[in-house]
């Protein structure tokens, strides 16, 4: 019982470390790696990875935490990115059960689609809470470009996120067949 609690604590620790690493890379390194003016959203890609692996509950909680961490460094209202990431994690987690088999392209596909979905939710809610400037055709271009960028970084982020989210129990065969393993 105590061993299981300890393993759970280690898992939470790994996820916290992942969050800190994401914030460090996103705020200090990625602004240098803009392509066509956009950067990949590591927090969002990690959220998608965890939602795909662990389901909607874990996906939405991690998405909330990752989004809130990023909110601290943005000018948009605190909580906006958290809400967008949490909803994305939930949706991807729900859709995860519909994926019957895993092939190599599922990781970039999910990373890209998750990135686009998260971006659209961010713009939509942003417009509702007073960020009308986001509601422009150019924002759509940014969302699509960052989705492509997210798809490119997904094969790197997925295995790291999967390692951090690995549960206390032994890995099952179906787990090991998923992207990231």
């Amino acid at each position: 019982m105590a061993a299981a609690g300890g393993r759970r604590l280690i898992r939470v620790g790994r996820l916290l470390l992942l969050l800190i690493a994401i914030v460090l890379v996103q705020t200090a390194v990625l602004p240098y790696a803009r392509v066509f003016g956009v950067v990949p959203d590591l927090g969002l890609v990690a959220t998608v990875a965890i939602a795909y692996r662990e389901g909607p509950e874990m996906g939405s909680i991690f998405g909330f935490a990752a989004g809130l961490s990023m909110d601290l460094f943005l000018q948009t209202p605190l909580g906006l990115t958290a809400l967008a990431f949490a909803l994305t994690g939930y949706v991807i987690g729900i859709l995860q059960s519909a994926l019957l088999r895993s092939t190599w392209w599922v990781t970039p596909l999910l990373g890209g689609l998750g990135g686009i979905l998260g971006g659209l939710i961010f713009i939509g809610i942003g417009a509702i809470v007073g960020q009308e400037q986001l509601f422009a055709l150019r924002s759509l271009r940014v969302v699509l470009l960052s989705g492509v960028y997210d798809a490119i970084v997904a094969p790197v982020v997925f295995p790291i996120a999967a390692f951090a989210a690995r549960g206390p129990g032994p890995r099952t065969g179906s787990e090991m067949s998923r992207p990231g393993w």
């Binding site: 909607p56 990023m70 605190l78 949490a86 939930y90 150019r138 924002s139």
Partner: protein, 280 residues
């Protein structure tokens, strides 16, 4: 039964997260750029300051290379500028190009022709926005050095933006190109005024003026400095890049290229405005 309980639990978690987010958004909006959320944000930015500085030192050369590779559309223009710089650099081979550029920027900032009497704080640009939906940069100085909210920020060539958040060691500048940015400007040739707005995802700014205003490509725009304005008067802002005027339209749309390419500026100056001791 177990499946139902699990579905119900995850819905409850989602509802809780949504409500928490909405509460935070409301608190932030009501705080009006202050309050608890502001304190938390300031603390987070200050805690990241040493890491950002270290990474900036390490990655600056990589950034120059990456910038050159990814901005292919500007390469022709860049080539012309580089050729001119190369010609100037002959005979000064021992001096590095980067150091000379910084030196030039700093000297220009000490002798701003358009704001000679305004005191200010010179700061280094150390990071761009980590997000995709805002155009901001982080400065390596904050309230400890005298930078406060709403200070206009300039580079040698002209206006950069204004400070929107200042913590102890860092300040965030909202650039002219941000969609939330609006600057009252006047046309250098005719004196007509208007509000120059940023556009999401674009490096060009947008100005709308009456159809009878005579404006052509290359015309300069300056801050208008109307009473109570956020910016002092006569700071160069940008050049007209294109004019779109249709017969019968109630206004013509002008696209403006900012004079300062913030992606390349290493140093900027936050101006004290209105100057201390000024009325109001």
């Amino acid at each position: 039964m177990a499946v139902y309980r699990r579905a119900s639990r995850r819905r409850s978690v989602l509802i809780l997260l949504v409500l928490t987010s909405i509460t935070l958004i409301t608190l932030d909006a009501r705080g009006n750029n202050g309050g608890v959320t502001r304190t938390v944000r300031d603390a987070a930015r200050d805690s990241m300051a040493p890491v950002q500085s270290a990474v900036d030192d390490v990655l600056s050369p990589v950034n120059d290379w990456f910038d050159a590779v990814t901005r292919s559309s500007d390469i022709k223009q860049e080539n012309r500028v580089l050729r001119r710089e190369l010609a100037e650099a002959r005979g000064q081979a021992a001096e590095s190009l980067g150091a000379r550029r910084e030196n030039k920027e700093l000297r220009a900032l000490q002798h701003l022709p358009y704001a000679p009497d305004l005191p200010g704080v010179t700061a280094q640009v150390i990071a761009a926005s980590p997000g995709n939906f805002e155009s901001t940069v982080a400065l390596d100085k904050g309230t400890d050095d005298g930078i406060v909210n709403a200070m206009p920020v300039v580079a040698g060539d002209g206006l950069v933006g204004r400070v929107v958040q200042a913590s102890h060691k860092r300040a965030t500048v909202l650039l002219l190109t941000d969609a939330k940015s609006g600057v009252s400007v006047r046309l250098g040739t005719t004196g007509d005024r208007g509000v120059l707005n940023g556009r999401a995802g674009s490096n060009l700014l947008r100005l709308e003026v009456e159809p009878d205003v005579v404006v052509k490509r290359g015309d300069l725009l300056f801050t208008s400095g109307l009473e109570g304005s956020v910016f002092p008067a006569n700071i160069p802002v940008g050049r007209v890049a294109s004019v779109k005027s249709e017969p019968g339209a109630i206004e013509q749309t002008i696209l403006v290229r900012p004079l300062v390419d913030v992606g390349r500026a290493s140093f900027v100056r936050a101006l004290e405005w209105p100057p201390r001791g000024a009325g109001g």
